[in-house]
């Protein structure tokens, strides 16, 4: 824990926000749900073909994932966040106490304020999801995080740990309109790599990250194709 003076703290622990509710059409994930609950939730992992489990399973250790919350992870909009990167690939909204319901994509670009994230709503829009990340060692922050999905026939590419906060790109130039052929996949990954700003930090250089984006988008699209 850091040494920091906090003048006004709000405890969200006992407000019943620690459950995941599943209906026919959506998952409602309370802000105090832990990363471990996400990892073990059958419904969410069936819907995302285990992409959510894959996104959180290397975050520190089981003990940490039993405490770290999805609300803290999403609200923080941290650059290194596997959680934000993953959720951006989904058809997903957040409910803010003051601000009401907004799309996660919109929320990810909003400036930090004093609102409270109440829950995350994941719509069960038909889709396929793949998540992978590159880490220097297993439980370290990612060097690059990459989620790829096809939701309602729209391809989404979410790139986190650039090291800036996750960015969501779409196939604006319809590169994949004729399907996931070798050539289209290669052109798509090059396009995503070229359109994702990267930077250097102690985990890796901007050039290395750009190269990794190209590799991971290719790999994830190949996996999405079902190989």
């Amino acid at each position: 824990m850091a040494d920091k003076n906090v003048n006004n703290a709000i405890d969200l622990s006992d407000l019943g926000l620690d459950t995941i509710t599943e209906t026919e059409t959506e998952f409602s994930i309370g802000a105090m749900v832990t990363l471990r609950q996400l990892e073990l939730h059958e419904g969410l992992n069936t819907y995302t073909q285990n992409a959510i489990r894959q996104a959180v399973c290397d975050i520190v250790g089981v003990q940490f994932r039993n405490m770290a919350t999805v609300g803290g992870s999403i609200f923080g909009r941290f650059g290194f966040s596997d959680v934000l990167t993953m959720f951006l690939t989904l058809d997903c909204d957040v409910e803010l106490f003051q601000g009401g319901i907004v799309s996660l994509e919109q929320f990810s670009q909003m400036k930090p304020d004093n609102d409270i994230l109440v829950r995350i709503i994941v719509k069960k829009t038909p889709g396929q999801f793949v998540y992978d990340s590159m880490r220097n060692t297993r439980t370290d922050f990612p060097v690059i995080a990459c989620g790829v999905s096809c939701v309602n026939e729209e391809y989404r590419f979410s790139i986190g740990a650039r090291p800036g906060k996750a960015l969501l790109l779409r196939d604006e130039e319809h590169i994949l309109k004729d399907g996931l052929t070798e050539n289209n996949i290669r052109n798509m990954s090059k396009w995503v790599a070229a359109h994702t700003p990267t930077d250097s930090n102690l985990r890796g250089s901007a050039k290395y990250r750009t190269h990794l984006i190209d590799v991971f988008v290719q790999r994830n699209l190949i996996q999405l194709r079902g190989e």
Binding site: M1, D14, R36, V60, G61, Q63, F64, N66, M67, T139
Partner: protein
Amino acid sequence: MEIQITLNGKIIKDHVEPDCLLIDWVRKHGCYSVKRGCETSNCGLCTVFMDGKPVLSCSMLAARANGHNVQTLEGLQEEAKDFVAFIADQGADQCGFCNPGFVMNTISLLRENPNPTDDEIRAYLAGNLCRCSGYEGQLRGIRNYLNHKNK
């Protein structure tokens, strides 16, 4: 603030400062198996159970444990006894500082998954760092224990 925590089966009512960490609270109540290691949520030395689930007491406020059940290795001696000898047989504990956290998380692993594969053991214990051993001794110790149990 006033809190009430069941620590190793005993109900304790206490007055704590709002920023009191759970690690300081359990140590104040005599649970010295709980060690302060990295203090950045990385090393697993300070592992305790809250309502049966392993958590890092260096990164949790005592206030968040209010009304909950907290266990440390002091309260789990019997359950630990089964397998710690197998780890000791491998000389895996060396300096021993990481051991209580490691034993706590192994208890949790075996409760959740009584017959883990080597990869499942590695994944579950990834949040327990050990500077002496290189982890192979611990893995051999757990494997030998499981082989013995399944005989």
